[in-house]
Symmetry: C2
């Protein structure tokens, strides 16, 4: 009998692993279970559908169930929800919501692609229907239906992570009055506070009412209550981060790691042999802090899923880890970050120096040049590049990849100065802003020695 | 008496070294000699002045002589031409074209920032006034005056390096009928032929008449003669590459290197102690081919000049070398390259595999996404990334920096797959095109093993 791979979750974590396994093993029987209405989609695109830049949610689908069936011979079962995993018997208990029945599905290999869900702190009224999280396309469909129905004029965003800020912009674009309430003393805590200030200014220029030091305390219909006052809201979006959907794994006795994400080895195998995990439900390893982290991003998901799929398909692959790269465009402002912020480095016990420079995205005389601010964080004494943050306008943020590669390679800021980066007037000043920042960071390292 | 640094050449190679030396040594006396009318300018911007995107040549000046005098206390002497160097006496013979006199200027340190000039092959009529090279702002001023005067309708570009192609576009933008005659069987020989074909197609879509296998044989007033026929020309631009201005150095007995560029050590010192060189006049070391090369680019110039200046100022710095990164935007098409092309790798004795992929600059569903083609060249067996080439539309080419850093770090294409590159729908597909190309290149390496 053919080996059977069962995949729990029809989005990238599970399905990219499945297609990769199929490439290597033609005989594998593959069954994929998805409890919702969509497979393999770009959740990162949801804010652009809400804001109107992308026409509808179907645009975000990378592969439909039928495409998986036809191209990869994957038996995709929609509206099928995994309820329990029996590791001893090697079976998944599945609730088939179509036929309203429960089956027990045997597996040889199992991929947990269960994803994550928006964090919903235990606050009064958090489960009221006007409070939306945005993670899956089903979430997004609910949100859009609600927004269309009530023709919302007042929106409150709670929290200022990537999704929160992107949704703030999206609702301004829809014509709503948007208030952002953030419990910390800065937006976007993945940035240092000085860089976050530039993002906040961009939000405010765009018309978002930003309230710092204002943690949400309660939700009443039509109102968000904070310590600093109440804010009228036809609709609330939660942007407080995500928590891994790891309960199914935990209940089966599979080991969890940081922030209750599913612990995996370098081949993406969980503590149970033959059970693999990839994506937002599982742990990563941070190459700079050398600590396990939970980072829920599509890039990491796809890379982990590829590794899991190669291993399931009989190959050998390991996932080296992440450096925490992320990029977004908010209110005409581009934001990129990678590695450790000053605060994260401090938490990891690393002593740092930093440098921050202002430059332009193109040659200063070239039409369309835009401002860019680059901050680099380097380790004291060694000068090793630990992190980078970029805030700027069009053409700024994708430069973060220069730092991402340099950090991965263990370069010092002194080495980064002389990397042969590309230059022509439509693309950069003769010293790319990242190299200019490296020069200043190298001086800071030298002075601190 | 103060030590005296004499700088020959008022553009970046000399002047960036001088300002760097000044930062470290307040007491240094610095004299800079420039035979032309401008100091420290962006020659790379000349095509954009010709094409009209930048208003005038003065926009390209980074620092004027007065700014150097005031900010860096550099005694800049315009219209002063170095005629000979006496290494034994430690003096430069200088022709002062303002006062029509010759002086002998003693130096303790000397920087050769003499630059390069357009290659003018020994062909009949090459010195006719309608045949222009474009290297200095003085060249550009001559060209612009000529173009304005004759209201040129027919322009022939000879050669298809960066400058040639950029000037072709610029003259189309001015309304001229432009023919490009190229001796080889492809444009832009820094690319492999398959990628060059994409550039040629872009030129042709833009209206440039491209003639391959058509080396220029002679110039007669109003005509460029090739083996394949004659082309009418009100004005001709040479784009055949450059030759280093190294005669002054050679006549003084200073050692030359590859293609008659000035040989330098890792500190940018020539074979003569206390005589330094930086920029288009001197040699670089190619980190991939491990051979000396002559690469005339502003980025390299500025990095070499910084190193020379630190050493002159009493510090210690070395220039590690180049990986041959270059980028340009031609006829709405962006072109980037770094490392070795397949042909260059072959010439360096390296066996390769390659991969080429088509993708988009943004998520496929995101408005404004543009096509991008990425080609990677990897060493057989080891999988080490040797080179990358990118041709695409807006947002494509600056990604070449990802490969430039990876090559500098000695990464394999397998390692490049898992680098944590940035992703958000406005910036990239979830697999950045460079990572997608790395996946395909890794498969090619594995298959060839």
């Amino acid at each position: 009998m053919a080996r059977r791979l069962v995949v729990i979750g029809g989005d990238a974590g599970g399905m990219a692993a499945a297609t990769q396994a199929r490439r290597r093993d033609d005989d594998l029987e593959i069954v994929a279970l998805e409890r919702g209405n969509w497979t393999s989609y770009s959740a990162c695109g949801i804010p652009y559908v809400v804001g109107g830049a992308v026409a509808d949610l179907d645009q975000l689908v990378v592969r439909t169930p039928d495409e998986f069936r036809q191209r990869s011979r994957i038996d995709v079962r929609m509206h099928h929800e995994a309820m329990a995993i029996d590791l001893v018997a090697g079976k998944v208990e599945v609730r088939d919501h179509v036929h309203e029945r429960t089956i027990r599905l045997p597996f040889d290999d199992l991929v947990l692609g269960t994803g994550a869900r928006p964090l919903r702190p235990d606050l009064p009224g958090i489960d009221l229907p006007f409070v939306h999280g945005v993670q899956t396309l089903d979430d997004a469909a609910d949100l859009l239906a609600h927004a269309d129905k009530i023709r919302c004029r007042e929106v409150v965003i709670v929290g200022s992570g990537y999704i929160g800020l992107e949704m703030a912009e999206a609702f301004v674009a829809r014509g709503a009055r948007v208030t952002l309430v953030e419990g910390a003393n800065q937006v976007m805590r993945s940035l240092d506070r000085d860089m976050a200030g530039l993002v906040q200014a961009a939000l405010e220029r765009f018309g978002v009412d930003v309230r710092l030091d204002s943690p949400a305390k309660a939700f009443e219909d039509g109102t968000v209550v904070t310590e600093e006052g109440q804010f009228a809201a036809d609709l609330v979006v939660l942007g407080l981060g995500v928590v891994p959907n790891s309960e199914l794994a935990a209940d089966a006795g599979i080991e969890l790691g940081v922030r209750n994400s599913i612990r995996v080895d370098r081949r993406q195998q969980t503590s149970a042999a033959g059970v693999w995990a990839a994506g937002d439900s599982c742990e990563s390893y941070h190459l700079v802090s050398r600590r396990p982290v939970h980072i829920a991003l599509g890039t990491v998901t796809n890379r982990q899923a590829r590794v899991a799929g190669i291993n399931i398909g009989g190959g050998y692959a390991t996932f080296p880890g992440v450096v925490g790269t992320a990029v977004t465009k908010i209110c005409n402002t581009e934001v990129g970050r990678t590695g450790l912020s000053e605060q994260e480095a401090d938490e990891a016990g690393l002593a740092t120096v930093s440098a921050k420079i202002d430059s332009t995205t193109r040659a200063g005389y070239f039409p369309g040049n835009k401002p860019i601010t680059v901050k680099l964080v380097a380790e004291r004494v060694t000068g090793r590049l630990l992190g980078a943050q970029i805030v700027g306008e069009e053409g700024a943020a994708k430069r973060i990849d220069i730092a991402a590669v340099a950090i991965t390679a263990g370069m010092t800021v002194h080495e980064l100065i002389d990397v042969d980066l590309s230059y022509a007037p439509p693309f950069s000043p003769v010293w790319d802003p990242v190299a200019t920042a490296a020069r200043q960071a190298a001086r800071a390292v030298d002075e601190a020695r």
